[in-house]
């Protein structure tokens, strides 16, 4: 046996399941946990169980929430005519940080990826179509700039355009504060492709 304690070994095994944590890091974390006072360990454990018990997906936008519908969906201050479609809850946090967007969100929970067996029925496409009504004016597609995100954008725009909605996508290109001469060629060529009239 590698460890002198079975429960220690079990903890290392479980921690090593987490993304980005290999066996060595898991071992280090387990040793750290061993040294913590009991109540702190209980707090960590409670917090972990707490998110599992209390956090659910909003029935409207599918974002993580404790109240259903979520704070954003139920807020009277938000503009219900705009829906911003993103891949996962992290993207909502990122956009919320800007304090620029006052519309609502729709979290797909992934993007189309045939190789991973993810098709339209595996992400919240049906739910998006369901929530569209006469108040909906614009759908903003804010998916990641990779081939999977692009395929999802194209797929959704084909579904949404016939409904007579304004469908937009976020711009791709040069980061703010960036220098043209230091921008890599691929980004620059996409930026030229997506140029806008002024």
């Amino acid at each position: 046996m590698l460890y002198t304690s079975e429960s220690l070994e079990l903890l290392v095994e479980e921690l090593a399941q987490l993304p980005g944590i290999g066996r060595k890091t898991a071992q280090r974390l387990a040793m750290y946990i061993m040294k913590l006072p009991r109540e702190e360990v209980v707090n960590i454990a409670k917090a972990m169980v707490g998110v599992k018990d209390k956090v659910k997906n909003c029935s409207i936008c599918s974002n993580f929430t404790e109240d259903d519908p979520c704070l954003i969906c139920s807020s009277p201050k938000r503009d219900g005519s705009m829906i911003c479609v993103v891949e996962d809850p992290n993207d909502v946090i990122a956009i919320e940080k800007t304090n620029e967007f006052i519309g609502l969100y729709h979290v797909l929970g992934g993007s189309l990826s045939p190789l991973d067996g993810i098709g339209p029925e595996d992400i919240k496409v049906k739910e998006l179509l369901h929530r569209i009504n006469e108040n909906t004016g614009e759908i903003i597609l804010a998916l990641n700039p990779n081939v999977e995100g692009e395929a999802t954008t194209l797929y959704l725009s084909r579904l949404l355009k016939p409904l007579g909605l304004k469908v937009t996508r976020i711009a791709r290109g040069i980061p703010v504060g960036g220098d043209l001469e230091f921008t890599d060629e691929a980004t620059l060529s996409r930026a030229i492709e997506g140029r806008v009239q002024i």
Partner: protein
């Protein structure tokens, strides 16, 4: 561009090897399996941010170790020095590439900065083998000379794999996947036609490079040429938009067949590039000697092409090329490359080099034994 010095730590069987390089020929001698080629592999790693041979970084780490490192000092043609550090950790899978102590975020931005031309006997499949070998040749030259090409190519490959999965599933379940395919078709056509236009232009530009290299090697009345043969007719028009339009038409036309076979049948991943001498296809009609000459001409052409496009002399890597040549040809070849740029040559044979090269500051000779470098 040349390498001033290079250090390998736990890279393959090199636990800790350091080499002060000559700026012209560097002859790496040693028996089979001692670690000569690993030195060339490290140089290719600097240039391409990955190995020429291994598809997986973890196999490069010295057995029993967890981290490999490469450190090198590069000097550009106009004398500017660059410090490279590469590290890969087997346990986390993390790879760090830094230039002058600054971490590179996007590895693809390195490609083309330190151009290389690589020759090995297996490489000669470019002229003998199937179209995939020739596409690989084109991709490597174009990726080094054009960063957008490299990125388009990796996106394109991903799109093809996704698309094949949809087609293959549809073949199995016997349903019509058109709605699922459309978003991928659009990207296939977008990236694919950009790649095709660049390949077509490259083939046109490269003719003169290959012609002048061929002339240096043999003074026969042989005219070498290359032809781009895409998977569908792109029309006679030189217009780039035509490739895009014809690609679209072809995708529709081949749809049934793609469904039947469950894979993507249209696009640059099915291109052929044919090599010819006096208008006759090399693969069918050429002699062994003509194959060899054509291959060397391709590589010399590649050198000059990259030199012009990257505005930097490429480093030459010759892996065990001389064992295949008779003394006379070997001497000719050495004289030819001696004047080009820094070259790393692996060989098991000592004799040929002493006859042609004088060793000292510019030309160096080392012996590799069991992962250790000794100055000869």
């Amino acid at each position: 561009m040349f390498i001033e010095n290079i250090r390998l730590k736990n890279f393959r069987n090199h636990a800790d090897s350091y080499l002060e390089c000559g700026d012209k020929a560097n002859i790496i001698l040693g028996d089979n399996g001692e670690g000569k080629t690993n030195l060339l592999e490290a140089v290719s790693y600097i240039s391409l941010t990955k190995s020429f041979y291994a598809s997986n970084d973890s196999v490069i780490v010295n057995i029993g170790e967890t981290i490999f490192q490469i450190e090198a000092n590069m000097v550009s043609d106009n004398g500017i020095k660059t410090k490279i550090h590469i590290g890969y950790d087997l346990t986390t899978g993390e790879k760090v590439y830094s230039i002058n102590n600054r971490r590179i975020e996007k590895f693809s931005s390195v490609i083309g900065k330190f151009p290389i031309v690589f020759l090995s006997p297996e490489n000669s499949n470019i002229t003998f083998g199937g179209p995939a070998e020739r596409r690989k040749f084109l991709d490597l030259v174009l990726s080094q000379s054009n960063q957008t090409y490299f990125e388009d190519l990796s996106e394109y490959r991903k799109v093809v794999r996704h698309r094949n999965k949809i087609l293959n599933d549809a073949k199995f379940h016997k349903n019509d996947p058109i709605a699922l395919l459309e978003p991928w078709n659009e990207q296939l056509i977008r990236f694919g036609s950009r790649i095709m236009v660049r390949r077509r232009n490259f083939v046109n530009e490269f003719q003169e490079y290959i012609f002048s290299a061929y002339k240096k090697l043999v003074d026969l009345r042989e005219v070498p040429s290359m032809e781009y043969e895409p998977s569908f007719k792109t029309g006679n028009s030189e217009k780039d938009e035509m490739v895009f339009e014809n690609f679209k038409t072809e995708i529709d036309r081949k749809y049934k067949e793609e469904l039947r076979l469950g894979s993507t049948l249209v696009g640059p991943h099915r291109d052929e590039i044919s090599f010819k001498i006096n208008g006759l296809e090399l693969r069918k009609f050429a002699s062994q000697g003509q194959h060899k000459t054509f291959f060397v001409a391709l590589k010399i052409g590649e050198f000059f092409y990259l030199k012009e496009r990257c505005r930097e002399n490429p480093i030459l890597l010759l892996d065990d090329v001389f064992s295949e040549l008779d003394d006379n040809r070997a001497q000719q070849m050495l004289l030819l490359i001696e004047n080009l740029n820094q070259t790393f040559i692996t060989s098991t044979n000592f004799d040929i080099f002493d006859k042609v090269l004088s060793f000292g500051e510019k030309n160096k000779k080392v012996i590799v034994r069991n992962g250790k470098i000794a100055i000869s």
